[in-house]
């Protein structure tokens, strides 16, 4: 079975290599023409092509084109490679808990900082997974979280700079079923635990980025796509839609969440060196419940 599949894919790759070789022979002429099409100074628009296309031939771009039109209309989205990066497993082993890391290339400053990072999962039923709002007090615009993936998809992190420029990083992830299949704990058990929170303080690992912390929230984050009961009744959507983290009253991070964040939302973030005081997290869900908790800053070993 394995052998058969691999063999087929090698044949495919060989064919692709031949095509590529033929194409490259013609490339110089093509490149010149293409350059003429792009007005000088216009930025490379990664929404038309990105390197991830290499791992996802035939990828359906309609979903992204629609989201892009809706969120950004005709704004230019630049290639994020010097600004923001994303790490995620190419093949996720658990579609309901796919770890992803988004990180800015350099720390936030008052003059130049990332105001928000929008996380888009093209093929999910509700593609805008989260918007992370940041400030110069956020230290480093870097978020580590866990998402649900419903079908093979591109995942995009779009950084909105304080000067209005947009930069995007993308990753292609193979996983499916993450939104539709409920976790094992029953509805009642999951709801009974909802709102329990924990904050851990981590060792900062980027110079000039300040401190690093992890906020953990117990919440089933029901997607509204999961079924319950013998009658096949859909569990209504019920998820964390807002998270606000402050330190000594100063805003560090706020998050608009959606159903694509995993059960028990879990977010790692940075905070600026100049902030002080206790941390407070205020979390609300779509049923209008609010959970609030504060923590003094601890060292890693004291967590």
């Amino acid at each position: 079975m394995f052998f058969g599949w691999r063999q087929a894919s090698y044949v495919g790759k060989a064919a692709l290599a031949v095509l590529l070789a033929a194409f490259m022979a013609l490339a110089p002429a093509w490149a010149e023409e293409a350059t003429d099409d792009v007005p000088p100074g216009d930025d490379y628009d990664v929404s038309n092509h990105d390197p991830e296309d290499d791992v996802s031939p035939g990828y359906e771009h309609d979903a992204w084109n629609n989201i892009r039109d809706m969120l950004y209309e005709d704004q230019v989205i630049e290639d994020g490679k010097d600004v923001i990066s994303m790490t995620a497993p190419y093949r996720a082993m658990d579609a309901a808990i796919v770890p992803i890391t988004i990180a800015a290339a350099k720390p936030q400053t008052k003059d130049e900082f990332i105001e928000s990072i929008t996380l888009v999962i093209d093929q999910n039923p509700s593609p805008v997974a989260a918007v992370f709002h940041l400030t110069p007090d956020s230290g480093l615009a870097a978020i580590d979280t866990r998402i649900r993936i419903n079908a093979y998809t591109k995942v995009r992190a779009i950084a909105n700079m304080n000067d209005g420029r947009l930069f995007m990083a993308t990753k292609f992830i193979k996983a499916s079923g993450g939104c539709s299949v409920p976790g094992l704990s029953g509805m009642d058990e999951a709801l009974a635990r909802a709102g329990k929170m924990k904050m851990k303080f981590l060792t900062p690992d980027v110079e000039g980025a300040g401190g690093k912390a992890q906020l953990m929230i117990k919440h089933p984050n029901f997607s509204g796509l999961q079924m319950d009961q013998v009658s096949g009744v859909v569990i209504p959507a019920h998820y964390v839609d807002s998270i606000k983290v402050t330190r000594g009253g100063t805003k560090i991070l706020s998050v608009e969440g959606d159903i694509s964040l995993s059960e028990d939302p879990n977010i790692r973030f940075y905070y600026g060196e100049e902030t002080s005081g206790d941390f407070t997290a205020v979390v609300t869900d779509t049923n209008g419940e609010t959970f609030k908790k504060s923590w003094p800053v601890l060292r890693l070993a004291e967590n």
Binding site: F2, W5, V181, N303
Partner: protein
């Protein structure tokens, strides 16, 4: 190569071109084989206890979902089937195996947990009108996940292979702390339901006459365990099983039978490695990705399908232990 679609799902997304070509002829194959479905090969591991061993693979177009250990116990009055295989067709072939051994009626069809490789043959026994029995949490899980598993079955086990497969829920359930006794004539089976372990709906079947315990997927041998419940819960259940008077077990995956408690040594060792590996990473502020890259490596050559399941197992262990 492998695609984990559902937590704990044994299904993959493998494809093979020549097999796809073969499946063009599947309607003919299907008609021919239902007419004379071959009984599943079974082995009598203890007096009156018959087990069919599945292959140590994910469900695919070659094994047609025949990947779990399934079988039956014959009493003087009738038969109790324990798990039914990954499709209607496999269930039917198991039924043929029962018929080749005895003419007694099939009184009970017991499912050890929700996973499709153990439950998707249930419908094949409907004509026998047995009592279908499972954990009190099984009906809900079947309802929640059944359609998802079913929708992908054809794709996983081959066109036509899924024909007739339905989600058949228990008609009688077993609650935690309230074992159920089934008298099938000359022998009594004790059904015990467990708290969250491999899944949240694990059930074992003890045959008092021979001291044989069907563990379902509470015990994996040779094939790497898959985590769909709680590692700490599972560890506790194993401790409890180690204290029980058991002559031999029938694992959910592995040989047809094995001696107890040695049968769970490898699995317990793997769990210890997962826990001992993940805890310090959490303590040091590491991530799931860090843990997946580092934990369990010492077990790599000790299990079938290690690379396919270890990352998922590490992930599950991490999300459980980080709340400690």
């Amino acid at each position: 190569m492998l695609q984990r679609s559902v937590p704990g799902s044994p299904f993959t997304r493998e494809r093979s071109h020549w097999l796809r070509v073969l499946t063009l002829f599947s309607p003919i194959v299907f008609l021919a084989s239902t007419a004379c479905a071959e009984p599943l090969a079974v082995e009598e591991v203890a007096e009156g206890i018959f087990v069919h061993t599945g292959s140590h693979q994910d469900a695919n177009r070659e094994n047609h979902g025949d990947i779990a250990n399934i079988g039956f116990v014959v009493g003087d009055r009738g038969v109790a089937v324990v798990d039914t295989g990954g499709s209607y067709r496999l269930g039917w072939r198991l039924r043929e195996a029962v018929k080749s051994v005895t003419d007694l009626p099939i009184l009970y069809v017991i499912n050890t947990h929700v996973h499709p490789d153990h439950t998707f043959g249930n419908a094949a026994f409907a004509g026998d009108e047995p009592e279908y029995i499972g954990h009190t949490k099984l009906p809900r899980q079947m309802a929640a996940r059944g359609d998802y598993y079913l929708a992908r079955l054809d794709e996983f086990i081959g066109e036509g292979q899924a024909e007739g497969t339905k989600v058949v829920s228990p008609t009688r359930t077993v609650a935690i702390g309230k074992p159920v006794e089934l008298d099938i004539g000359g022998r009594v089976l004790i059904l015990i339901a467990y708290p969250q372990a491999h899944t949240n709906n694990d059930l074992t079947v003890m045959d008092l006459k021979t001291g044989t315990l069907w563990t379902g997927d509470l015990v994996f041998m040779e094939r790497i365990p898959s985590m769909d419940g709680s590692i700490l819960g599972w560890k506790k259940v194993l401790e409890r099983l180690r204290g029980m008077k058991i002559t031999k077990i029938i694992p959910g995956h592995g040989p047809a039978s094995a001696s107890w408690p040695e049968a769970q040594n490898a699995q317990s060792r793997y769990f210890e490695e997962l826990i001992a590996g993940v805890r310090p990473i959490i303590k040091q502020g590491g991530t799931i990705t860090d843990a997946v890259a580092a934990v369990g490596k010492g077990e790599a050559d000790k299990w079938e399908l290690f690379d396919d399941y270890n990352p998922g197992n590490v992930t599950k262990t991490f999300t459980e232990l980080e709340w400690e």
